[in-house]
């Protein structure tokens, strides 16, 4: 089965089958959208919570506020129905906790921004493995909708 790696800021999609993978999620969030009827799956790799004027030419998938709408559009293009889309998310860790003592970590800001933008579009989060202090690998099997998350030295866990 074809496997595509989704780097920071990128969005990729499959219909029917294929594996969408993101390796080394730290403070970033891996987000998946799935329409189980049409078997349409989209994965994004969100870098920061909010788009900024000084980065106006950025890939939409780089920021949560532009990335979630872009992912939905991608899903609809492949025949998904918006009302059937379900989301899963992983990441948002804080690998350097002693550097963020006075403010909310970027990981936490990312978790909140992704959740908020999904909820704005009426999309439920049906699985997640977020926060904490460790990196993650996320794999999305589009034929079944299964999403697994792996931390170093651990077995993959389905979310």
């Amino acid at each position: 089965m074809k496997e595509v790696f989704v780097n920071m800021g990128e969005i990729s999609a499959f219909k029917q089958e294929g594996i969408l993978t993101t390796v080394g999620l730290g403070s970033c969030i891996g987000v998946t959208l799935y329409d189980a009827v049409e078997k349409v799956g989209v994965m994004g790799h969100i870098f920061l919570p909010k788009s900024r004027p000084k980065d106006e030419d950025a890939l939409p998938g780089k920021y949560a506020d532009t990335g979630i709408p872009a992912m939905i559009e991608e899903a609809l293009k492949l025949g998904a129905k918006k009302s059937r889309l379900k989301a899963k998310m992983a990441g948002g860790a804080n690998l350097f906790p002693n550097l963020n003592t006075n403010s909310t970590s970027i990981g936490q800001q990312n978790i909140e921004a992704v959740a908020e933008n999904l909820s704005k579009h009426g999309i439920a989060v049906v699985g997640k493995d977020v926060a904490g202090g460790h990196g993650r690998k996320m794999r999305f099997f589009v034929d079944t909708g299964v999403v697994t998350v792996t931390a170093i030295g651990k077995e993959a866990v389905e979310i």
């Binding site: 390796v23 080394g24 999620l25 730290g26 900024r52 000084k54 950025a58 690998l95 550097l99 460790h134």
Partner: protein
């Protein structure tokens, strides 16, 4: 200043900074000699930044410091796991090869000393105050450590990366010291050193 000249200038800074950092490391390790690989300075588009470090699933120890003062930026010291364990053994005498609290604080102190030496060298050349934060230490997938560093630096469409690799003679120790300066602050450094405006 053309971008080639800018990058050459940054490589020179990196060479001097890393030279001081490895000298400090050498003193901590009883005089072991280190070889520096010619520094790499690049302005990377964001889309290529993720893969710059390579081996995203490989486990590394990463020490991350925020630089403030007259010139701001971010410094990272990335060491493959095996090299980190050799360093821990040499520094603490602990041969258990597990990453316990002692190992973590040894790495933190090591990163602190190396990065401070690097910054001191730049400080002396420019007269600027360069103040390091307390170091953060993470041992995790290279990709996760690196992207957390880039996110901490709030990288926009392009990132200037200055990297120096080094190797030890006789021990399998290797590492990378990476400097991500705030772009606007280059001009300040260049002006002080009598280089043309970029």
């Amino acid at each position: 200043m053309s971008s080639d000249i800018k990058l050459d200038f940054l490589k020179e800074l990196a060479n001097i900074g890393t030279g001081h950092a490895t000298t400090a490391l050498s003193q901590m390790l009883g005089g072991r000699l280190f070889q520096l690989v010619v520094p790499d300075a690049q302005m990377l588009p964001f889309s290529e930044a993720a893969e710059y470090i390579g081996g995203q699933e490989q486990i590394v120890a990463g020490i991350f410091i925020v630089v403030s003062g007259d010139v701001g930026g971010y410094m990272a010291f990335l060491i493959p796991y095996d090299s980190a364990m050799v360093l821990v053994r040499l520094l603490t005498g602990d041969d258990s090869r597990e990453l316990n609290e002692l190992a973590r604080s040894a790495l933190q102190e090591l990163g602190n000393i190396m990065i401070t030496s690097y910054l001191n060298a730049l400080s002396k050349m420019t007269g600027f105050l360069l103040a390091p934060s307390v170091p953060g230490v993470a041992v995790d997938m290279a990709g996760a450590v690196w992207e957390s560093i880039l996110a901490g630096a709030q990288v926009a469409n392009e990132v200037t990366v200055i990297r120096t690799e080094f190797f030890a003679d006789g021990e399998s120790i290797e590492g990378n010291i990476i400097f991500l300066p705030d772009d606007d602050d280059f001009q300040k450094i260049a002006r002080v050193l009598g280089l043309e405006e970029m």
